[in-house]
Structure formats: structure tokens, C-alpha cells
């Protein structure tokens, strides 16, 4: 049987399948592990500081998150200005 399969070709070896699956899952888990990089809270705090110079804003009005789609990273910064926010500083 091993001779026949050797002569007439055979299915993909299971070790190769194992390696492929591991390459994918390990790469994905490495990305997941870093899905919330350390700098995001600091970035949010600094943005808050800068924006507060011009507009009255609460910490929860700034949302910073990093998203990944395939190979692209998107840094999303969402700043909500409430209706009662003081008018922007004069130009």
C-alpha cells in the first residue's frame, strides 16, 4: 500500500496540514494578543488634553480604537462634541 501510494501520488501529508494550520492560528493569536496596544490609553489622554484646550469635552467622549481588517490596521478616533460644548476658541 505504501509503495502504491508512493507510485501513484497521494493525498497531502498530515504533517504539512498541521504546519499550515499552526502558521495561521499562531499568526492570528499574535495579532489578537496585541489588539489593544499599550499606547491607546495614553493617546486618548493626550488627545483629551489637546482638545480640552479648545472645546469642553468629557473623557468618555473620545474613543480610540485600533481595528484590523486582513492586513490593514485602522486607527479609529471618535470624538463626540456634545450640544452644550462651549464654542470653539476664536481662530
Amino acid at each position: 500500500m505504501s509503495l502504491l501510494t508512493r507510485l501513484f501520488g497521494e493525498k497531502k501529508k498530515t504533517a504539512a496540514i498541521a504546519k499550515e494550520r499552526l502558521q495561521l492560528i499562531i499568526a492570528r493569536e499574535h495579532i489578537d494578543g496585541k489588539s489593544s496596544p499599550d499606547f491607546l490609553p495614553a493617546l486618548q489622554k493626550e488627545l483629551l488634553g489637546v482638545i480640552s484646550k479648545y472645546v469642553k469635552i468629557a473623557p468618555e467622549d473620545i474613543k480610540v480604537q485600533l481595528e484590523r481588517q486582513d492586513n490593514i490596521e485602522i486607527l479609529e478616533v471618535n470624538i463626540v462634541l456634545s450640544e452644550t460644548a462651549s464654542p470653539p476658541a476664536p481662530q
Binding site: L3, A15, A18, K19, L22, E29, H30
Partner: protein, 270 residues
Amino acid sequence: MRIVVVTSGKGGVGKTTTSAAFASGLALRGFKTAVIDFDVGLRNLDLIMGCERRVVYDFVNVLQGDAKLTQALIKDKHVDTLHILPASQTKDKDALTEEGVEKVIKELETMGFDYVVCDSPAGIERGALMALLFADEAIVVTNPEVSSVRDSDRILGILQSKSRRAMEGREPVKEHLLVTRYSAKRVEEGEMLSYKDIQELLRIPLLGVIPESDAVLQASNQGVPAIHLKGTDVAEAYADVVSRFLGEDKPLRFVSYEKPSLIKRLFGST
């Protein structure tokens, strides 16, 4: 003094077998070595080392101040320079505190130990974290099998974030890959991940490959660390591991399989 953790994430891959053989190997080279069982509640290192009937006090007794470290350390019956600190069989895992473990390690240092080998429990819970916390080097025991490789990758991530070295921003824990239960024949046949595949996946230096062997069960049956089973491939592979760990250049053995030739397979052996 160097602290070496033997870890893996996954259970049953050969951590305790490796801790026993590796610690014995260091001691055989003349280094004063202590091997500590961190698997509180499920101790087994004592059985593998063959000292289970000599356990009076354990690691937790020492941590809780009920016994002195010198009372709990068991002198190995094969090698003078080796001492075993067994885990507690009954007590709560919470007894393992950072301060307690650190105190024991400092005491071992003042006693003049050259190496402390920490036998980690499986998983990523307290016992495993405590075992790797103070590590200078780590031996990551991995079987050529998907779940073991994935768990080794997880534990590497933990070493790189939760060890004291990582947290204090010091030079990182030196990582070593040890592939165990390796069958060169099955690798050759494409049924098993090769050590090169595993190294490529985990990206850490290879310390050695331990072949799958009946000798491991023979060793544990008798409570004799596998490195003492003279003439077996496992004993020699572990001796090579110790040599490489100490910086000696030893080529890999037991990793190739000679395929019978086509003629042999067609007509039987000649």
C-alpha cells in the same frame, strides 16, 4: 545562580521527565542543583525522582514557615549535588505567593546552589506563573503535535510579558526549545511535524530533540530519571541537551530515519 523553568502550557508533554533528567544532568556535571516541583496539589516530581517515600516537608510547608528549607530539601540518591523540593500534595495553590517563592529562591542562592530548575505545572494558572516568574532561562517542552505547539507559543508570550525579567525591562528570559516524543520515522513519512517545522513556528533556538522511547516509561516505573538509563537513546539525548545548555557544541542525534530501499521493500531484506 541561574534559574531555569521547564514549561510547556500543555500537560503530558514531558515537563517533569525533562526537569528530572535535566536537573540530574546538571548535577552530574558537578553543579549544585535544586529542582522544585511547582505543581501544588498534584505533585509528581518526587515519584519521577524516586524519592516519594522520603518526603516529610514540602514547598508549601516552607512557604508557610512550618518547616525550614533545609528540612524540606531531599538529597537525591543518585547524585550528591542534587536536591529536590517537592510540592505539597494537599494544600491550596494560593499558598504560592511571589514573596514566598522569592524568599525560597534567595535562600537557595545563599546556600550556594548553582542552578534551580523549576518544574512548572501545565496550564497558565498561578502555579505555572510562579514557576516562570523568576526564570533566567526557559526550556519550552513541545511535542510534535498541534495543540502542544500552540500552547508553547502561548507560554512564550507569557514568558515575554509576565516574568520578572520582562516586567522589570531587563534582558529577556533566554528561551530554549526542547522537542520531545519525536519519531524520526513518522516525520520522514510526513505524519509528524519535524523539529525544523516546530522551530520555524515558534522561532526560538533549539536545545534538543528527545526521541519517543519506551525507556521513558521504564525510567518512571522505577523512579529513576531517564538520563541515568545508560545506553538508551533518551539518556544520551538528555545528556546532549545538558551539554548544549552549558554551551558545548553537540550535533543533533536521533532525528534521521534511514528508509529501507525500494529493492529491500520489494524483495524483503537482503
